[in-house]
Symmetry: C2
Subunit: 367 residues, 2 copies
DNA sequence: CCGTGTTTCCAAAACGTTTGCGCAAACCCC
DNA sequence: GGGGTTTGCGCAAACGTTTTGGAAACACGG
C-alpha cells in the first residue's frame, strides 16, 4: 500500500554507509514523476501551472509532491538562467548599531521581494573584501549592496565591469554608474550647526571621523559651512579626528580634556557612538552634560534615547535607507529600471537633554 | 593580436538588445575551452589540478582563464553534488546588540572556512520563519544556525527530518538530535546572586523576560536557587516580567517605581538592554545608581561599559558562541563529527559601577 | 473511413561543471 | 621494428530543472 516508505536501518549495510546516504537526499522532480507515473515534463507543468494538465493526472502529481515534500532546486533553476534571487551585502561590520539597523532594513525588503541576503563583513580589509566578492560572484548572486567606508572609487568601476552584477551603494560619494542611497549629510551637519547657534552657543567644536570617511566628511563640511554662514561667522574652536566608535569617542574626549584652555561650549559628534563615548569620558572626569558642555550626535541609534543624558542627535531613517537600497537593487535586477541616480534621505533633528543653552541664548535658558 | 576583444556598440543591432546580453554573461568553462583550443575536460583539469596536463597546454588554458576572468559556477558544481558551502542563520532580530555580536562570530568563522552565510530575521513570527526555511531548503544550504527565542521543541524535530540539512542551535534548551551552543545560564544567575549577597544586599529583585524564554528562564532559576542556598535563605522581593528590550526595561522599572512599599536594594536584569532601560527610567525618576538602587545586567554588550553608570554585568563570550556554533555546524556538514552534545560556555562577572554596597555589607562600603 | 483539430502527455536539449572511460600518439627496451 | 608502457587529452554522462517540438489518442464532421 505504501511502497515508497523507506525504513532506515532495515538494510544489512545500514551502518556501513559513511558518506551522504543517497536515500535521504532531497527529493527531485524525477522522484515525483516516478511516483506519480508521469514524465518530469508533466510534473513541471503541474507545479508551475504553465500548461493545462488533465485533472486526474494533476491530482496524482500533487499527491506525489505532497507526500515527498518536493521543493524544486533553485540551483538547477538558476543554472538554466533564472535569477538566483540571492543578493550579497558587503558591510564594514554588522556589529555597529547603525549598520545593523540598515542591514535589518535591507534584509526585510529582500524577504518581502523573495530574495535572500548573504551577509559579508569586511572589516574594511581589502583582502577580505576581495575574497568575499569572489565567492559571491561564483555563487552568481543577482546583485550587491555595498556599505563600506570605502574611499576608493575605482572599486565601483571595477565592479560595474561585471555586467551581470547589479549594484547599489549606501552612504558613499555620488557615483557615475551605480545608484547611491544615503542620508543628506550636508543638511544634517547644517541642522546641527543651526540648532547649536540657536541655543546660544558660539564656541563649538567637532569630534570627527578619520580623514577620507565620506559619510563623516560631508556631515562635518555641512556643519562648518553653516557655522560660517552665521552672522557673525563662526569657526570651529576644536576639531579632533578619531575612529568612529565608543572607544574612539572616549579617547577623543579624554584628549580634549587634557588640553590647555577652555572647553568648547558644545561638541558635534559625527555619530552617536562617538557621542556616547564622549559622554562616558566626561562623566568619568566629573563633568556634567549639558551643564558643563553640550553634546550632539548623529544617527539616532536606538540607544541614543536611553543614554545619560538622553542624546540630542540627527535622526537617520536607517531602516528606510536599507529598504530603499534593497528596493533600488531589486528593481535593477528585475530590469525595471536603469542603474543611476542618488537618493538622499533627509535627516531630522531629535532634541533630547544632551544639549542645553549657551551664554548667548536669546530667551529660554534653563527651564 | 587580440581577437577576443569585444567592443560593445560596434554592431548595428547593438541598441536593439533589451534582454540580458548574451555577450556579457559570466564566462563559462566552454568559453575558456574555445579560446584555449582545448576541451572543457582539459580546462577543468587545469583549473583544479586534478590530472597532469602538458605544460604548453596548461599555459594556454591559464591565459584564457585570466583573460576572461573565468570563475567556476558554484551553482553547477553544487548541482553535481558538491556542497553549496552556504549556511543559513535564523535569528529573531539582527538588530539586538547581543545577537549582532553572535552573528558576527558566526559570519567570521564561516568566512574562515570558506562558507557564506544567509541571514534571516524572523521577528519570532512563525510564518516568516517557515517562509525563510522553505527558501533556504530550495537553495540547498548545507546547514542552518538557529538563534530564535523558540519555545517549540517540535520545530527542531521537524527540521532534523531533513536528513541532508545539518543543524546547530544557540541558546536553547538541550536537544536530542541537535547540538546546542549556549552560555551556562544557571551559573550566570548564580554568579549574579552570590555577588549581590557578597556586597551585602538582602532585598533583591529581578527584571525577567517573558515566560517561556529559555535563555532568560535559566538565568532566573540559577539566580533564585543561589539566593535560596544562602544562609539565611533569601527570596526575591520583586519579580517583573517584560520584553527583553530597552523599552521593556524602562517600562518594568517605571512600573516598579509606581508601586507602594520600599524598592529592592538591588535588581538582577536578564539582559543588558533591560538593565539600560531600567537605568534610564531610574534617572528620569531622579534616583541615583548605585546609591539608591544597584543594577546588574547580563550579556556585557559593548555599550555596557559606556553607560551611566557603567554596568556591572555577566560577560558572555558572544563572538565565541557564534564562532563555536559555526564550527560545530561546519564540522557536521563536512562529516567529521556526529550531531550531538551541548557546549555551555561559562559567563564571567564584570564588576563596574552600577552595583554598590548593601546595608549588610561585611567590610568595604563606599570607598 | 478519412481528414482535422484538440487534448494530453513525453523525449530531448540546454544550463555549467566534474569525472570515468577510452583512444591515440609518443616513448622505451630489446 | 614490434610489443608494452606512459603521456596527453577528448567524449559523454550525470546532476535537477524548464521548455520546445512533437507524437499519440481521441473527438467530430464529412
Amino acid at each position: 500500500m505504501t511502497p515508497e516508505v523507506n525504513r532506515p536501518g532495515g538494510g544489512p549495510s545500514a551502518d556501513l554507509r559513511l558518506g551522504p546516504d543517497p536515500a535521504v537526499r532531497a527529493p527531485t522532480i524525477k522522484d515525483v514523476a516516478r511516483i506519480a507515473g508521469v514524465s518530469v515534463t508533466t510534473v513541471s507543468h503541474v507545479f508551475n501551472e504553465t500548461r493545462p494538465v488533465a485533472a486526474d493526472t494533476q491530482a496524482r502529481v500533487r499527491d506525489a509532491i505532497a507526500s515527498l515534500g518536493y521543493q524544486p532546486s533553485r540551483l538547477a533553476r538558476a543554472l538554466r538562467g533564472e535569477p538566483t534571487r540571492t543578493l550579497g551585502m558587503l558591510v564594514t561590520s554588522s556589529n555597529n548599531p547603525f549598520f545593523a539597523e540598515v542591514i535589518h532594513g535591507v534584509e526585510e525588503r529582500c524577504f518581502e521581494r523573495g530574495y535572500s541576503l548573504i551577509l559579508c563583513n569586511t572589516g574594511d580589509d581589502r583582502d577580505r573584501l576581495n575574497a568575499h566578492l569572489a565567492t559571491l560572484l561564483q555563487k552568481r548572486i543577482d546583485g550587491l549592496v555595498v556599505m563600506t567606508t570605502n574611499d576608493d572609487l575605482r572599486f565601483f568601476d571595477d565592479l560595474s565591469q561585471h555586467r551581470d552584477l547589479r549594484l547599489v551603494a549606501i552612504d558613499t560619494e555620488d557615483l557615475d554608474r551605480v545608484p547611491v542611497v544615503k542620508d543628506d549629510s550636508g543638511l544634517g551637519g547644517a541642522l546641527a550647526a543651526r540648532f547649536l547657534v540657536e541655543r546660544g552657543f558660539r564656541r563649538v567644536g567637532a569630534l570627527a571621523g578619520p580623514l577620507g570617511h565620506p559619510r563623516a566628511q560631508y556631515r562635518l563640511e555641512g556643519f562648518i559651512e553653516a557655522l560660517a554662514g552665521e552672522e557673525p561667522p563662526l569657526t570651529l574652536t576644536h576639531l579632533l579626528r578619531e575612529e568612529m566608535s565608543l572607544e574612539g569617542g572616549a579617547r577623543a574626549m579624554r584628549h580634549l580634556l587634557s588640553q590647555e584652555g577652555p572647553l568648547p561650549e558644545a561638541l558635534f559628534c559625527m555619530n552617536d557612538l562617538i557621542a556616547i563615548g564622549a559622554l562616558h569620558a566626561l562623566h568619568q572626569a566629573g563633568l556634567k552634560v549639558p551643564q558643563d558642555i553640550s553634546i550632539i550626535g548623529y544617527d539616532d541609534i536606538e540607544m541614543a534615547a536611553y543614554c545619560q543624558p538622553p542624546l540630542t542627535t540627527l535622526h537617520q531613517p536607517s531602516a528606510d535607507i536599507g529598504r530603499s537600497a534593497a528596493e533600488a537593487l531589486i528593481r535593477q535586477v528585475e530590469g525595471r529600471e536603469a542603474a543611476a541616480g542618488v537618493l538622499a534621505l533627509p535627516p531630522r533633528l531629535v532634541k533630547r537633554a544632551s544639549v542645553g543653552w549657551g551664554a548667548a541664548a536669546a530667551g529660554g535658558g534653563w527651564a
